[in-house]
Symmetry: C2
DNA sequence: TTTTGCATTGAATAAATGTTCAACCAATAA
DNA sequence: TTATTGGTTGAACATTTATTCAATGCAAAA
């Protein structure tokens, strides 16, 4: 008999994790098409063959990353909405955490680029585009609701809530891409400038 | 003797223009690596061979597009600075024109994506990266100066001018990408929300 | 120690794609 | 009409790269 089930599963999970983590970095810095399986193989020290033991194709790796990116973002948005604090606090918290995430956690900016790439590019698996299409609105709707709540409280500006949401996410997205471009050189600007768009 | 010089030059310019225009669209929607010479060939109805008569490689086409994108943007920024109007008006004008450009002229959003791609990706000709490195700051510095002038006039908020500039361009960039993703479905939000970040 | 099941390897395969090049054609001057 | 120049073609070539697969290694059970 070979290794026991759990131990095998552990190895499998670790390998998958390694592959996904390196692939995220590569897809974000080179793009899907320009990332070679050999690149992933070299950076993970996992043979090409083994990568195909865990994922059926390069595209499946990409789709898997998109799926987890969307899940993480939506999960965070849902948690935010549930918090027992006023709308204004939620908005400040969201801005603070998102900007912090961009500065600290490299994978945050990388996820943003991955999603931008997937949404934008024709050369991306259909499945990835569908995941985004069906899930992207979730966080938009949540933030829009929070803005509307804040307007009732009289603390959020009286612009169209959905339009403010567009600015909210496009700006965050723009910052994340800027961070991805400039790396450590990027200096995050003061979040209060950003909050001026929304808060009275 | 063949066609005369001018007539030939005209044909050449037209062909180059065709190639560049189609390549811009393809690079912006698929990325450099995923765009095939055959794609450009098919969409322009120009044979593959002829493309190599005008450009020495796929990458040269890309570099050429990056160069003209940077030139256009910097030129616009320089013209803005020269206008004989108060700083506040310049800021409003810049925002108005940039947003209008994103909504109307498809190539504007496409240029933004091209530059983001080039700045971000490792799989991009070095020359393109160097053009961006050396030229990207130009427009940042111009807008920063205009913000500072506006602060002297007492019409621009007292945040760090350079940080406001970061928000200015990251937001524009984010909007342009959003437009590129959603195309005609994209609804441009009210520019006054945006201007709240900067104007008193 | 031997067997077994599964992870793992990397060379082989097949397909795709950037680039080249010899031949072709079209317009004009002679 | 003919010769010439230079735009134009597309098949051929060389290279790259995703994917497969037969063989190997290894940990645990018998």
């Amino acid at each position: 008999m070979p290794r026991n089930k759990e131990s095998n599963q552990k190895v499998k999970d670790e390998r998958k994790e390694q592959i996904l983590s390196v692939a995220l970095m590569l897809f974000a810095t080179k793009g899907l098409a320009a990332t070679r399986i050999t690149d992933i193989s070299a950076k993970t020290d996992i043979s090409q063959g083994l990568i195909y033991h865990y994922f059926s194709s390069k595209e499946e790796i990409f789709v898997s990353l998109i799926r987890s990116a969307m899940n993480k973002m939506n999960e965070a948005a849902r948690n935010l909405e549930r918090l027992p604090i006023p709308a204004k606090e939620k908005i400040i918290l969201a801005a603070t955490e998102l900007l912090k995430g961009i500065v600290k956690n490299e994978s945050t900016s990388q996820y943003y680029f991955l999603i931008t790439q997937a949404a934008l590019s024709d050369a991306i698996p259909l499945e990835a585009k569908e995941i985004i299409k069906s899930q992207n609105d979730v966080k938009y709707e949540i933030i829009t609701r929070i803005f509307q709540e804040g307007q009732k409280d009289g603390v959020v500006k009286d612009h169209d809530a959905r339009e403010m949401t567009t600015f909210f996410f496009t700006t965050i997205n723009g910052l994340a891409l800027n961070k991805a471009i400039y790396g450590k050189k990027f200096k995050m600007p003061d979040k209060n400038i950003f909050l001026n768009m929304f808060l009275k």
